[in-house]
């Protein structure tokens, strides 16, 4: 019996805890995307209570918000998920008069291809996918095609993600990252199958550790993950492949269901402050879309060609588009075929 009262008691306490008199804001973001004090500083300054939780994939977040009854106010979809979210009427338009700090955005993100006038999103953090490698590998890889070199057998990893992995094959063939054509995709599959005997494993962030330990010599990897590895192991380097490569940008949006529009804008405007954004970058080693924040970063971070590639390299990047249904399905079948080959 005592145990039962204890349980009831703890439930009651829990309920009491969540009844906080301060206004609330519910923010759902990717994991490891704020500094430890980003949220608490906002709470203290604005006298609000922020419920902050994290997700691991766009799909996980979308599964929750798609019915328009999730309870979240702000989420951070990747740029090519914005269009489907708008088609489902999940996001609300931004009020620019409440976002004076939008002017801090880097010029390249002031009018991005996925939302020309920033009517719906505030670009937050971005990264590219390229080649992370050990400097002992000579000559150093500079193109996707270099990852088909038989010397890499068993010492190479590729991303466990159909978009990135097939993308590398498509780029090797000088095709678009967002290719939808049946024939083009089948040619990419042939490339992937030819490469598979060399591939040690299809891994995402897990490859970082093995690159540091020296088990892996070259890996298809995100620039931000690579930067974390380079920071501890100077013998590693990163290349944005010559054939072209993808960029991804995670963007803050306010959900249609949110009834705290004004507070949500205050939060977005707060994230756009240069010092706030710079603190996040210092802690998480990501690339911010906030140009004014970049200027506040220590020189080593600011000049990292991995995080902030120079303009001539940036030019070669491609922002993947939302794919039509049939192309998605074909890509998935090809992906399953590659992996189970």
């Amino acid at each position: 019996m005592n145990r039962r009262y204890f349980l009831l008691g703890s439930l009651a306490t829990l309920a009491a805890c969540s009844r906080d008199p301060r206004p609330r804001l519910n923010v759902y973001n990717w994991s490891a995307y704020v500094a430890p004090d980003t949220i608490s500083n906002f709470e203290a300054e604005f006298g609000v209570n922020v419920r902050y939780a994290t997700y691991e994939s766009n799909e996980e977040m979308l599964a929750k918000v798609v019915t328009g009854n999730s309870g979240w106010d702000i989420v951070f979809p990747t740029h090519n998920r914005l269009q489907p979210m708008r088609e489902y009427d999940l996001v609300q338009p931004l009020h620019h008069e409440w976002l004076p700090n939008l002017q801090n955005l880097d010029a390249r993100f002031g009018s991005p291809v996925w939302d020309k006038h920033l009517e719906w999103n505030v670009p937050y953090m971005w990264s590219g996918t390229g080649i992370a490698y050990n400097r002992s590998l000579q000559p150093a890889p500079t193109r996707w095609a270099d990852l088909w070199d038989s010397r890499l057998k068993g010492r190479l990893t590729m991303c466990d993600d159909p978009e990135d992995m097939l993308g590398a094959c498509l780029k090797k063939l000088h095709l678009s990252f967002s290719a939808t054509d049946h024939g083009e995709l089948l040619r990419a599959e042939k490339e992937a199958l030819a490469q598979k005997p060399l591939v040690r494993a299809y891994l995402n962030a897990e490859a970082r550790d093995q690159l540091v330990a020296g088990d892996v010599l070259a890996a298809q990897m995100w620039s931000t993950t690579t930067q974390q590895a380079i920071d501890v192991t100077p013998s590693l380097a990163f290349a944005y492949p010559e054939e072209g490569f993808p960029f991804y940008c995670d963007c803050a949006v306010i959900l249609r269901e949110s009834e705290r529009t004004e507070l949500a804008h205050k939060f977005l405007n707060y994230l756009l402050r240069p010092e706030v954004s710079a603190a996040v970058v210092e802690y998480t080693k990501t690339a911010t879309a906030n140009g004014a924040a970049v200027a506040l970063l220590p020189e080593a971070t600011r000049n990292s060609a991995t995080l902030y590639p120079p303009p001539e390299i940036f030019e070669r990047g491609e922002w993947p588009r939302t794919l039509p249904r049939d192309a998605q399905r074909l890509r998935d079948r090809i992906w399953t075929e590659i992996k189970s080959a």
């Binding site: 996980e60 979308l62 599964a63 040690r200 093995q210 020296g214």
Partner: protein
Amino acid sequence: MKLRFWFLLPSRIWMVALFAAPFAIVLAYSFLTRGTYGGVEKPWTIEAYQRLADPLYLTILLRSFLMALAATVLCLVFAFPAALFISRATRHKNLYLQLVMLPFWTSFLVRTYAWLFLLRDTGLINMTLQSLGIIHAPLQLLYNDGAVLLGLVYGYLPFMVLPIYATLERMDPSLIEAAADLGARPIATLFRVIVPLSRPGIVAGSVLVFIPCLGAYLTPDLLGGGRTVLVGNLVQNQFTNARDWPFGSAVSMLLMALVTLLVWGLLRRESEQLG
């Protein structure tokens, strides 16, 4: 019979609200059309089931069955002597049982990562072998079917130990004495008397191991390095990356139907033998 009615009421409510309703949803999903962005749309169709006939997916299913079968057999081989040891222990039986469960209080993911630590090129096993001079270049222990099998066996071993222990514990020791008195050697006693008598535990354990192994997806992803696809990965992928909920639902329906047939057949044979 009044008591039985009230006792079964909560579980009947569970059955309708938390089992039948979601099950019906998945069943309905499998007959709908995929939305561009996850979710499902009308019209109704059996297209998802037609796609199942693709040899690609049937191969994956077969491979998963073999993998789960191998894991179950290995679990049985490793777990049986351990269960025998615990049931024969004169002291600390409970302690031994708890020790079997202890590693399972940490996250499944952590347990799997622990094997990465041991198996990688610069991991404990390769380093030890190299410093002993047994090998000169690291062995590639990770990212193959063997590593996946190891991960599965490690992950579900207790599910086999506990039920076998439970039947061994109930076994009448006089039976074993009788066998010995009749001149049976220990090995013969083991295979002629102990193993057949612990059959219910073996069957229960095999079911508890085989089913989750069949649906496993994290182990093949992490220890197999994503180089093979098992049916668990296929389902998982349909609901995440591929955003094809109808197809994912159809694969799960097929999987559930096959497993149910198997378990049903096994249990029926079991009850016939008992009866």
